[in-house]
Amino acid sequence: MIRLILAIPFLALGLFMFFSEVVGFYKFTYVMNRMHAAAMGDTLGIGSILIAVGILTGSLSAALKLVLILVFMFLTGPVVTHLIAGAEVETHKNAGHEYQEVDRR
């Protein structure tokens, strides 16, 4: 029961982040902006859910496995983001109309 009470705030936060991700996905009109909304679920959303699951299972070995899942997510997420963003910038001829370029080199 105590574990459930401890887990509920993290579960609620995770669900709220995933809900907001979907809202943001529909609100933003351009793919590169939508990716910012998607990043919320991949970071705080999944992180909170995994913390909640870790608390609910109450086992150290399960919690360590969940930490590994989070590490795996954090290592692979940026790679996919770079690929999608790079493909959009390289292939969309009018991508420059969707954002302002700032050169500080």
Binding site: M35, S61, H82, V102
Partner: protein, 152 residues
């Protein structure tokens, strides 16, 4: 590396029993030997990296804090009226080491509101959801901490 692999084996195995320890030690030993013989791994390099563990721990703690903070910043843009004003900012990161450049690029991507589109040499192209996120990005603590790790 042997200890890290053995730790991973035990996490996946789920329990620390003599059988698991023995199997883990054999498998981890074989992989460590393979890496040393064919992939240029040296324990000296590993211990050198380990000496920077405190700086890396501070960096990771800061990264986690920033991930949480920027998630809530992006939330504001989702629930307020109107579209954001995105920017694509190009700048020099001034970090010499290649792995640290990639680490900073991935850290920028992990914090919602900004992500790295391109990394060539020390030149970054970062997409920011709004001008709010792109202010002083090249002077952010990620770069300062990466330089500190480099100097250590």
């Amino acid at each position: 590396m042997f200890v890290v692999l053995l730790g991973l084996f035990l996490i996946f195995a789920g329990s620390v029993t003599p059988t698991n320890l023995l199997m883990g030690a054999v498998v981890s030993g074989l992989i460590t030997l393979f890496c040393a013989k064919f992939m240029g791994y040296s324990s000296r390099g590993f211990f050198k990296k380990l000496s920077k563990a405190d700086e890396i721990a501070v960096y990771l703690a800061y990264l986690l804090k920033e991930i949480v903070r920027e998630n809530f910043d992006v939330l504001r843009f989702i629930y307020r009226k109107g579209q954001p004003k995105p920017r694509l900012v190009s700048f020099h990161g001034k970090v010499q080491s290649e792995p640290l450049r990639v680490l900073v690029a991935n850290s920028i991507t992990l914090t919602p509101g900004t992500y790295t589109v391109r990394l060539e040499g020390d030149e970054y192209a970062v997409h920011a959801l709004d001008e709010y996120f792109q202010v002083d990005i090249e002077y952010s603590a990620f770069f300062k901490m990466a330089r500190k790790v480099e100097e250590a």
